[in-house]
């Protein structure tokens, strides 16, 4: 069958079972948009900014576990997409972003709307392609999806010159099987290493499990839960790993790191064995490297060898897919008698319970003004802790991580690695597209929300009933907190009250519902009202202006040097 390049793009996406594309048209992708016009089964979500389109595809991917797809035009379309790509790259989210490019003959001529997209995105994608011949197109698209979703996932850009989308070529569905001789991720753990790991775990008196985004990406929450219960050890999750283990399980000690719980950080600092799974020892997690888990033997399971011993030297590396490796470990742990010699962990748990008694996440909600944490606890209660929660970046993000518990994976969307303000709303849209029946909440700040609030239009056009909770403190709160603690309260350029829009009217201007709560007793009715409608709702919670996120490990300090409230 002879097709144009544009038709091949659409055909290939359909053959690969893609159902939703997030995008924004422009000159160099007009052929593709025209080809899409005749295929309503390929649902296109018109975002209001290319950054929004890529974040939406990212949110879609995080919730569904499938590859998110974005489509943008050349030049400014592609450069607008860069922040979205870098965000996905840092958090290892599988995306394919198709960008238009000027015709092959014009490349390099400073043509109209030309940008060196492959050059610009090289260091913020897992891989990228420039397709110069239509005969390569179908293969390259399949390779792009394959690379995006396998191994350590990540975003892949396919840069498509306009003339390639017009050229004709024979096309046949060749399935999704792809072989790339230079790309073969190791997925099965080395059996000897796995065996060694299990015996180290079963000898430990103070074992600690530390897991991250890799567990979510590998769909290994069930295996992790099973293994952790077999071992009976305390477990902590990174910001990216939340939901990988049920937060309501008593073995869970909360998040670790800069704004993690006291018990999690103390347990890591005092354990004699640290089992790290699909986590990358980020500096927000380790604090001062030289004092990170100083007394522990460290085992590290990760699919990406570059993650291993990059920041912290580990004693036993296991390269492989978390799901497989945990399966291998469970098999050994379940051998009859395998755990008979395991030391009694009760003394270790007694110690952890002492740390827990500090109640490090406590705060006081009075009668007069709203504490931000209180809003999140109310959101939790009124959604039965069962919503999909997206966030932006700042204090509200940390409070959401601390106060909204996740019992299941893929319900939590946050930009951890890049920390991209403006991520939350489009990501929530992507989640809402993936799971239309579910409650999707965005917890955001007044600063972050203004970075991509134009996406309210997308929500309204496509009837995406995202419930937006702005914890409006009139500050770039996280910046203000640092200025308060480390710069003697000099609030340089972090106050945002002047010029702030009336968020209720802003919502209404787009055709969404706008609500406001200024007193603690208004919080619950506001949330109830928001949850009761099937419209997009913006809730403007006027919260205490100068609340701080605690506990906190100051940058460069060790985890056991936390500041408590």
């Amino acid at each position: 069958m002879e097709l144009t390049g544009a038709q091949i793009v659409v055909r290939t996406l359909l053959d690969l079972k893609v159902r939703h594309v997030f995008g924004y048209p422009g000159g160099s992708v007009l052929h593709i948009y025209d080809a899409m016009f005749k295929h309503p089964e390929l649902n296109h979500i018109l975002c209001r900014h290319e950054q929004g389109a890529v974040h939406a595809a990212d949110g879609y991917a995080r919730v569904s576990g499938e590859v998110g797809v974005a489509l943008v035009t050349s030049g400014p379309g592609a450069t607008n997409a860069v922040t979205g790509l870098a965000t996905a790259n840092m958090d290892s989210i599988p995306l394919v972003c198709i960008s238009g490019q000027v015709p092959v003959d014009l490349i390099g001529n400073d043509a109209f709307q030309e940008a060196d997209t492959v050059g610009i995105t090289r260091s913020c994608t897992k891989h990228n392609f420039l397709v110069r011949r239509v005969t390569d197109l179908a293969r390259v698209l399949r390779e792009a999806f394959h690379i995006a979703r396998t191994g350590r996932p990540g975003p892949v850009v396919v840069d498509l010159p306009k003339d390639v989308t017009a050229a004709l070529c024979d096309y046949e569905d060749c399935g999704s099987e792809v072989r790339i001789r230079s790309y073969n991720p190791t997925v099965i753990g080395n059996a000897r290493q796995v065996k060694k790991a299990v015996s180290m775990i079963l000898e430990a008196q103070r074992p600690m499990i530390y897991t991250g985004g890799g567990v979510i990406l590998s769909n290994a929450a069930a295996e992790l839960t099973r293994m952790t219960r077999l071992i009976g050890a305390p477990i902590t999750n990174t910001l990216m790993g939340l939901g990988g283990f049920p937060a309501s399980d008593p073995l869970f000690v909360g998040m670790l790191g800069m704004h993690g719980t006291y018990e999690a950080n103390m347990a890591v600092s005092n354990c004699d064995l640290l089992l790290a799974i699909g986590a990358r020892f980020d500096d927000r997690v380790t604090g001062k490297i030289s004092q990170f888990a100083p007394n522990a033997k460290i085992i590290h399971v990760d699919i990406d060898p570059t993650s291993i011993s990059k920041n912290v030297k580990v004693h036993l590396p296991i390269v492989g897919d978390v799901k497989n490796v945990l399966g291998q470990m469970i098999a050994l742990l379940e051998v009859p008698g395998a755990r008979d010699q395991q030391p009694d962990l009760k003394p270790w748990w007694r110690q952890i319970d002492v740390w827990r008694e500090k109640l490090c996440l406590r705060y006081h909600q009075g009668k007069d003004w709203i504490e931000p944490q209180f809003v999140i606890e109310k959101l939790r209660d009124l959604t039965q802790a069962n919503a999909i929660v997206s966030t932006d970046v700042g204090q509200h993000q940390m409070w959401a991580a601390q106060f909204y518990p996740f019992d299941r994976p893929r319900r939590w969307l946050t930009s951890g690695g890049l920390g991209t303000m403006g991520y939350g709303l489009p990501a929530a849209m992507g989640a809402s597209v993936a799971l239309p029946g579910e409650t999707v909440i965005l917890i955001t700040g007044d600063g972050s929300f203004q970075m991509n609030s134009q996406e309210l239009a997308t929500c309204c056009q496509f009837r995406l009933p995202v419930k937006i909770a702005i914890l409006n403190n009139s500050y770039l709160g996280m910046v203000r907190q640092w200025q308060q603690i480390f710069y003697e309260g000099r609030y340089s350029q972090s106050h945002m009250a002047t010029g702030a829009p009336d968020f209720v009217k802003l919502a209404e201007a787009y055709g969404a519902v706008g609500l406001r709560a200024t007193r603690p007793d208004e919080v619950e009715p506001t949330i109830r009202q928001a949850l009761a409608t099937d419209q997009t709702v913006v809730m403007d919670f006027r919260v205490a202006e100068e609340s701080n996120v605690y506990p906190m490990v100051p940058a460069g300090k060790a985890l056991n040097e936390m500041i408590l409230l």
Binding site: V118, R122, S123, L130, R181, S182, P305, T306, K310, K313
Partner: protein, 165 residues
């Protein structure tokens, strides 16, 4: 420590910028880098020399392996291997100096590629130390310009970089 790393890559557009970009973005050091197509399977072989402690070199090798078009990476410094580099030097040489240049060229088994009444171009091959030594002797005579290829290297023995090669 100085390491000679051999990288087999798909011979496709942009692969060199991926390698160079990796070194720049991660702050790894490159002493020299050479690249050319080898064989007929659409591959190129890069030889690069880097200096770094064990952990850095380990990261470099892992990061290189992570690039999609990279087929194989070996640290040749881990075993016995042969290194070669080629240098072209243009030396000012008049009257009595001419004999001296030719004598030095002879000591280093180099060849004269071009000669004018007042200069020679000579070609020297060997490991980097040999080229350095030769250059030390030529410099006082007046080096006009020079160019070096950077190291290429292969492991000793009967095995290739990839087992089935």
């Amino acid at each position: 420590m100085r390491h000679v790393i051999s990288v087999l890559v798909e011979n496709e557009a942009g692969v060199l910028s991926r390698v160079a970009g990796l070194f720049a973005a991660r702050g790894f050091n490159i002493e020299s880098l050479t690249v050319a197509p080898v064989g007929d399977e659409g591959t190129s072989r890069i030889t690069l020399v880097s200096i770094g402690d064990k952990e850095i070199i380990e990261q470099i090798i892992k990061q290189l392996n992570k690039l999609i078009p990279v087929i194989h990476v070996v640290d040749l410094t881990e075993g016995a291997h042969v290194e070669r580099e080629l240098m072209l030097v243009k030396v000012a040489a008049e009257r009595e100096v001419r004999a001296e240049v030719l004598r030095i060229a002879d000591i280093f088994r180099s060849r004269v590629l071009d000669a004018t009444p007042n200069s020679f171009m000579i070609e020297v091959t060997g490991d980097s130390n040999k080229l350095d030594a030769c250059l030390e002797l030529l410099k006082p005579l007046g080096v006009i310009e020079l160019v070096r290829t950077g190291q290429v290297a292969l492991s000793r023995g009967n095995r290739g970089m990839i087992k089935n090669q």
